[in-house]
């Protein structure tokens, strides 16, 4: 019979006394030893990003959840052979993207050629200076909105991004992958990755400005 290792807590105190979560590698090691708790923790940790990325390839939330679940089954089966030389996250998201792509029907027309401007060119004068400067929405984040409202605003804004921009953004800014890791997972050049990240972040800022500026 398997016994949950209670001697290995999920949270422990960091050097400054602040709690921090186990690294992925530590959780993976516990999963290998049969810890269900560590597995669910690992799933929870990456679920938001995995669901959003899968969703950008497949037609419904339900199918996206299936892709995520299939990915975890593939991960568990492959864990015996996973050497841990590559970062776990890179491996995880490569499996996810491959599966999502294999069943996905994402239209390829969202090319890097669309929407080449970070900000609508109409907001600058002939001299290249702002004619309609950024509206201030930072205060809304601090003062007007609670976390739940902010979360749904952010999610709605993210949904409006072209899928290719969104997946780069999620991998970089939600999952904290490096630019090299993102390029590897998506099979794109680092130059392309940089362009997509720049457009995605710029567009997300625009969406936040539009929905939050008083």
């Amino acid at each position: 019979m398997f016994i949950e290792p209670t001697s290995v807590p999920v949270m422990f105190a960091g050097p400054a006394g602040a709690p921090f979560a186990d690294s992925d590698a530590a959780l993976v090691a516990q999963v290998r030893e049969g810890s269900e708790r560590a597995f669910v923790e690992l799933v929870a940790r990456h679920h938001g990003a995995m669901r959003r990325i899968a969703r950008s390839y497949v037609p419904s939330d339900a199918v996206a959840e299936e892709v995520v679940q299939e990915t975890w089954i593939a991960v568990l089966r492959g864990l015996k052979d996973f050497r841990g030389e590559a970062a776990f996250k890179t491996w995880l998201f490569s499996i996810l993207v491959n599966r999502a792509r294999s069943i996905g029907t994402r239209e390829r027309r969202s090319s890097p050629h669309e929407d080449p401007h970070a900000v609508d060119p109409g907001r600058f004068g002939a001299d290249g200076m702002w004619s309609r400067p950024p509206e201030r929405w930072e205060d809304a984040v601090d003062e007007r909105l609670d976390a739940a409202a902010l979360g749904s605003t952010l999610d709605a804004a993210l949904e409006k991004l072209p899928p290719r921009q969104r997946e780069v953004l999620v991998l970089r800014d939600v999952e904290d992958l490096t630019s090299a890791e993102v390029s590897e997972v998506l099979g794109i050049s680092e130059g392309n990755q940089r362009v997509l990240l720049h457009r995605g972040r710029s567009r997300l800022r625009n969406e936040l400005e539009r929905s939050l500026a008083a």
Partner: protein, 87 residues
Amino acid sequence: MISLFARKYRCVEIVELVSAYLEDTLTRRQRARFDAHIADCADCRAYLEQMRLTIELTGTLREGDLSDAMRDEFGEVFRRMRDEGEI
């Protein structure tokens, strides 16, 4: 040092360079020109701050996404695979 002949960046250029600035992939000269513009331009300073905030906010999406029902479901999948020796 910025050459006396180096043209000043315009706001419309700053918004295209801001990601490279934050990723620290500008050349030293570009960075100096960027900093010089930002020092003079409150609107571009606000824009830069908003981009930083956007990135920070995206990072908060990591939390709280898996329902209890789904936790149970994943736990069950795991137990089944473990007990069948698939892991």
